[in-house]
Symmetry: C2
Subunit: 268 residues, 2 copies
């Protein structure tokens, strides 16, 4: 905490990862991480700006937020930065009409988007929708374009569910990238634009913001590349070997969100 004091005093806003920081996901919907419900309340009471910054793409923000509220979290849809709405902004700006390869539960996020005669593919963690037929279909849409446009809602390699490890969207993104000889545009962490839009929504510049996450690459590395400080919690997908990561070093480690909030509020 001693070294942290120097820069934590300037903090005006916090960005929190959700899964692995606020709660642990699971088949039953998940359970809050001890102390996190209270930690979110204390951040809000402190007057610090707060933004939830998640790569969740298996549910609409509405459903996701409702689940978290059910666990006791003080959170609203307007406070959440997530890949699907960010992708929708890009689609509108560039007049792109997507072919969607996403989870059924995410489709409503694209309700306002014209999807006729697609000129790009949007891939998310489609889970059971990652069938041979659906992958071939997305591939054919891409390969028929003069210049294929592939937008990926994240680049995660895999994640853990109660019934075991699952391939994440990044693996399927790589399959399409290779087949079409194209580079996907990644929306969501660790994309710089994603963090920047979360900062803009808070109205806080990067040097006055701290990201708190469990993912050494997507949370910590991504935020640091935007000029933010970043803490890694030792909850969620954290593994001790993260502390020897060859490229990324968090500005500090904390045992969990509650401890992070303790230390940060002490500096103010």
């Amino acid at each position: 905490g001693g070294k942290m004091a120097a820069w934590a005093r300037a903090v005006r806003g916090l960005l929190l990862d959700v899964s692995g920081v606020l709660y642990d996901s699971g088949g039953d919907g998940g359970v809050p991480i001890a102390g996190s419900v209270e930690a979110v309340r204390r951040i809000k009471a402190s007057g610090l700006k707060l933004r939830f910054c998640t790569n969740e793409t298996q549910a609409t923000r509405e459903k996701f937020v409702k689940k978290l509220q059910g666990m006791g979290f003080d959170i609203s849809v307007a406070e959440v930065t997530a890949p699907a709405p960010a992708a929708c902004r890009i689609l509108k700006e560039r007049s792109l009409r997507p072919h969607l390869l996403v989870h059924n539960a995410l489709v409503p996020e694209f309700a306002e988007i014209d999807k006729a005669n697609p000129n790009c593919v949007v891939i998310g963690d489609a889970a059971e929708n990652f069938t041979y037929a659906n992958l071939n279909e997305a591939f054919r849409v891409l390969i028929e374009m003069e210049k294929p446009v592939l937008i990926s809602l994240g680049r995660g390699r895999y994640y853990k569910e109660t019934d075991g490890l699952k391939l994440d969207v990044g693996a399927y993104m790589k399959a399409l990238e290779y087949a079409c000889d194209v580079q996907a545009e990644v929306v969501g962490k660790p994309a710089k634009m994603f963090f920047e839009s979360a900062l803009a929504e808070m109205g806080v510049p990067p040097h006055q913001a701290i990201m708190i996450g469990d993912d050494i690459v997507n949370d910590v590395g991504g935020a640091q590349r935007c000029g933010m400080r970043a803490l890694q919690v030792r909850t969620g997908k954290y593994r001790p070997c993260d502390e020897n990561h060859p490229h990324v070093k968090p500005d500090a480690y904390v045992n969990n969100l509650a401890e992070a909030v303790d230390i940060i509020l002490q500096q103010l």
Copy 2:
């Protein structure tokens, strides 16, 4: 043909790609390419050594050869170099027990191989077997190994069937490579070892062998990297833009296998 004369005179053996050179594949089993049945007979009558060198992994060699014989080709199982038998040799040499992610019709090629308690994954063009569940299972087998071993029966990006383009094994290989942070060992064209074993089976050194194929990268480029000459036929998956390939230039173009055989036999 003039420039070809200089080196074609030394030829003692031919390697023929099958799909796109001998026949065009399709839902009904496919049709022979005009002149190819007779061209194979002429090669055999000439005394040149001959080897069929295919990346086919959707059928055993037995079934594949039977199909070609049914079209009139003079071909036997012993004359075919294919990825699955090459993979079996590697598995035996290195005491590897594979988890198979392959087409159902290919499984008999691995009948003699111990598959209990797998310590590697073998991936082929599994087609309908590329399900979300099967991909997750292969991934879990790999990620649980201390040093994941992934053997891929080819690295093709996609191919055409009567009902449209399909993702080939290379795309799924890339997905697993990315998820496990591992590099697959590719068996089949364009792997050097694959061409070398075809040459060894013929008993012909590379500078006395010519590869004839329709695939600019996997046939022509692969064979040339082994020290062979290579012709590209303008049949099968050949596209005019292949003639502007940034890295690979065939030693000659021919309209089809029949023309290649005409020119080669004239030099002898």
